[in-house]
């Protein structure tokens, strides 16, 4: 209060600043918890509700057990459903925004591809009819990604994005048809729902190793990873709901 405010007419010199009673801090939602799947090669750390002003958020850390260097850190926040202006819409509209917070390594065009891919997945998953005249905005902030020799591995980032968005939707309480999660096998990603009977997203990138494999085999391998990821996510959700009760 020592800085003189030149833009306003000041009160008397002996005026005291207005002090409010110290209010209770916002209730702590979603305790931090280290969850790691027993099987598989990844360790996953999940924490929900970090971003205070969003409707729902999730923080994911995925580390490879085999190679310490392979690591993806992603913060997802969901805003909405919030009223959208303009023409009447019977359904909510989704938008996905991806940003690299620290180092910008991924070309803009590829990020655009990832965003439309993710939007398409969640168009099929979110119960959009439930929220007419509204928009749901998803913001993905990639804090860190490294993968051995490469600067980044787009495939593991996409997989983490799918899982992160699902967790953020759960945190926001937005209706989704199922706990969607993605599985990765080499450079192929498949996002499943309904216990692996339905595919909501498939992404295959250049990879000589899996070129000869049939697509059904690839999907099957992705499904194993999907089931692990989903188990980890559900375990976390159950544990956090128990601890908050």
């Amino acid at each position: 209060m020592n800085i003189t405010d030149r833009r306003r007419i000041l009160g008397p010199a002996n005026a005291k600043p207005l002090v409010f009673d110290k209010s209770m801090g916002p209730a702590q939602r979603g305790e931090s918890e280290e969850v790691s799947s027993e099987t598989g090669n990844d360790a996953m750390y999940i924490e929900n509700g970090i971003v205070g002003n969003s409707n729902g958020s999730s923080y994911l850390e995925v580390k490879s057990r085999i190679n310490d260097k392979n690591c993806t850190l992603l913060l997802t926040s969901v805003y909405g459903p919030r009223p959208s202006r303009g023409a009447f819409n019977a359904k909510a509209t989704l938008s996905v925004q991806f940003r690299e917070v620290t180092l910008e390594k991924i070309p803009a065009g590829q990020l655009r591809e990832v965003c439309t891919f993710l939007t398409n997945i969640f168009n099929a998953v979110v119960n959009l009819e439930r929220y007419p005249k509204s928009g749901i905005d998803i913001f993905l902030s990639l804090i860190h990604s490294s993968s051995g020799p490469q600067d980044y591995e787009l495939e593991s980032i996409i997989t983490t994005c799918v899982n992160g968005i699902t967790l953020a939707f759960v945190d926001a309480g937005i209706e989704i048809l199922d706990t969607v999660s993605a599985g990765m096998y080499k450079k192929n990603i498949t996002a499943f729902m309904k216990n692996g009977t339905e595919v909501v997203g498939f992404w295959k990138d250049d990879d000589d190793n899996s070129a000869s494999e049939g697509i059904m085999d690839i999907v099957e391998k992705c499904k194993e990873h999907y089931l692990q990821n989903r188990k980890t996510m559900i375990e976390y959700m159950i544990r956090s709901s128990k601890s908050s009760n």
Binding site: T116, A124, V199, F202, D205, D206
Partner: protein, 262 residues
């Protein structure tokens, strides 16, 4: 064309039936008629124009430039311009990113090598005059035919220019045909259990999902991925549909290439 809810519902149900009933009477694996004109721009090394029956039209020009390949690594650049859409709109950015990556990764850059120091750099400019459904299939067909009719100047200086530095010189009028394998891409729509090729705009509007399949060197290549054709009717699909669409392309692509080459 904007359809009412009832019209969409009717269309959706007819596409879900087995076999699918398509609004223009096509079979599931039938393309719409397309017309291709090549080599109509004398100032470009290769050019093509493709017109689909619904009025979708796409012009592709290929121009070359001699560059030092030690400095410029990417020897193929694709620039996409869709009339009525901004350069930074999602669709334009996505399509140009996919095309750039596919052409750079898949095509053999050795074919553009001129001497030990210099290479041709190909600038592929795509202009979509009007588009109604997802334009990627047509663009890739147009690029395929443009690259296949591309003529590059014939080199007359020596190929080894590392010891004696000299700029490449070309024959006054002789041209050499560019000979590279070009990937083509297909968009398929999935409606329930059915897979249909070359979806029209009305079909895209009610499809459960879309799949992009790339065909290169007589086999399905990367990228293969799901793409959104609409926002309203997007659903999860049976894993079998993925296999079905790949099978369909494996059967169809050789025929399509045959038609494009003829």
């Amino acid at each position: 064309m904007v359809m009412s809810l009832t019209e969409k519902r009717y269309l959706q149900e007819s596409l879900l039936s087995k076999p699918p009933v398509r609004p223009d009477g096509r079979n599931a694996e039938q393309f719409r008629p397309i017309e291709i004109f090549t080599d109509f721009l004398p100032t470009s090394n290769g050019s093509s124009k493709i017109v689909a029956s619904d009025g979708t039209e796409c012009v592709v020009s290929v121009k070359c430039k001699v560059v030092d390949h030690a400095i410029e690594k990417d020897l193929i650049v694709v620039d996409v311009d869709i009339a009525g859409r901004r350069d930074d709109s999602p669709l334009v950015q996505e399509i140009s990113s996919i095309l750039n990556r596919v052409l750079l990764l898949q095509t053999d850059q050795e074919q553009l090598r001129l001497t030990k120091k210099y290479s041709f750099k190909l600038y592929i400019d795509v202009l979509v005059l009007s588009s109604y459904s997802h334009p990627l299939t047509l663009i890739s067909f147009a690029i395929y035919s443009a690259l296949n009719c591309t003529q590059l100047p014939t080199l007359i200086s020596s190929k080894d220019d590392l010891d004696v530095a000299e700029l490449p010189t070309f024959h006054d009028y002789d041209m050499t045909e560019l000979n590279i394998a070009v990937p083509i891409m297909f968009t398929l729509a999935i409606c329930g259990q059915n897979v249909i090729v070359d979806p029209a705009s009305s079909e895209s509007d009610v499809a459960s999902n879309g799949i992009l399949v790339t065909w290169y060197n007589d086999k399905v290549a990367a990228p293969v991925r799901t793409i959104g054709l609409n926002e309203e009717y997007t659903r999860g699909i049976n894993p079998q549909s993925l296999a079905d669409s790949i099978q369909l392309i494996e059967a169809l692509a050789p025929k399509v290439l045959g038609a494009l080459d003829s």
